[in-house]
């Protein structure tokens, strides 16, 4: 960066006083971080998440096996936590919508792994079977169709995790994932899937920026 007297900072005296250094460097720091995150401007938060949900999500995320070494050619990787928007639900089924799209998907995102984390409140001493349906937009983008489903047995209240398959990963890569949780064979008095501020279901996804994006960086 050239200074007013056309000398670069690295090659001359420490002539700048601290205040003018700050005025010069603060915008540089902002621009440097935004550029590296491929953002044009700082995000404005439309749906802030409660601190409680954030803490629990991070604890869940850090629950991953330690010491898993990244492959050498990992490239730019992200871990994204997307909190659910609760769509059409009743006591017999809960529909969860997750949005992943941002300008990062412009270059294509490769989802390496995705897992659903949700909180269940069960009556004591009961075991439930939950069906988790993965719904994707049909070929004409008009309606949701069933891509696959998982069966999960839960026998205690608390947080549960389900590793999602390739269909759900593909939906995340497209930017929108819809799941439906249906208790099997039980008649519930109230919804067993909690989505209060601190128990909001979320999907944790490990994604890598697509190769097209990387070419641009070269």
């Amino acid at each position: 960066t050239t200074r007013a007297d056309h000398q670069c900072l690295a090659c001359g005296e420490h002539a700048l006083d601290l205040q003018s250094q700050r005025e010069l460097l603060l915008p540089l720091a902002k621009r440097s971080i935004l550029d590296k995150l491929h953002l044009n401007q700082r995000p404005t938060l439309s749906r802030p998440v409660s601190r409680a949900a954030l803490r629990i999500a991070l604890q869940r995320l850090h629950g991953r096996p330690q010491g898993a070494l990244p492959e050498a050619d990992r490239g730019q990787e992200y871990e994204i936590i997307s909190f659910a928007e609760t769509g059409f639900s009743n006591i017999n089924q809960t529909r969860l919508d997750f949005h992943f799209f941002s300008d990062r998907t412009a270059g294509g995102m490769e989802v390496q792994e995705a897992s659903l984390r949700f909180f269940v409140q069960l009556p004591p001493n009961t075991t439930w079977t939950l069906k988790v349906r993965v719904l994707v937009l049909g070929s004409h983008e008009a309606n949701l169709t069933l891509a696959t489903q998982h069966l999960l047995t839960v026998d205690a209240s608390g947080w549960h995790q389900l590793l999602l398959g390739p269909e759900a990963q593909a939906a995340c890569s497209q930017g929108h994932l819809t799941l439906e949780l249906v208790p099997e064979g039980q008649v519930a008095e109230s919804s067993v899937i909690l989505s209060g501020a601190a128990q909001r279901p979320f999907v944790a996804a490990r994604v890598r920026v697509g190769s097209k994006h990387r070419i641009r960086r070269h």
């Binding site: 690295a10 420490h14 700082r42 998440v49 936590i81 997307s82 992943f100 799209f101």
Partner: protein, 116 residues
Amino acid sequence: GINCQSGSKMCCRQEFFVDFREIGWHDWIIQPEGYSMNFCTGQCPLHVAGMPGIAASFHTTVLNLLKANAATGTPGGGSCCVPTVRRPLSLLYYDRDSNIVKTDIPDMVVEACGCS
């Protein structure tokens, strides 16, 4: 590398910390609290040119001075004070959709400077 002290004119690392709260970024950047955008500044006289790390010993400096004097006529000469060691900046932040994103941006923090 050497950290800049007031009054030193030699190539050194100038620490510069950007507090995210101070610039109003603490709402969307969850961790860390700030960014050390350190930079390299100062002179690289001929007798320390080409020394990625600046040896503090008198003996090294004198030897280099002798070499520099012998090389004074060499075309090119001079060098710049540049980063020699850098580390990534790990960020945890909200994106536009309030998703939480964690990533490591390589080579963002200057740890040490030297004369190229």
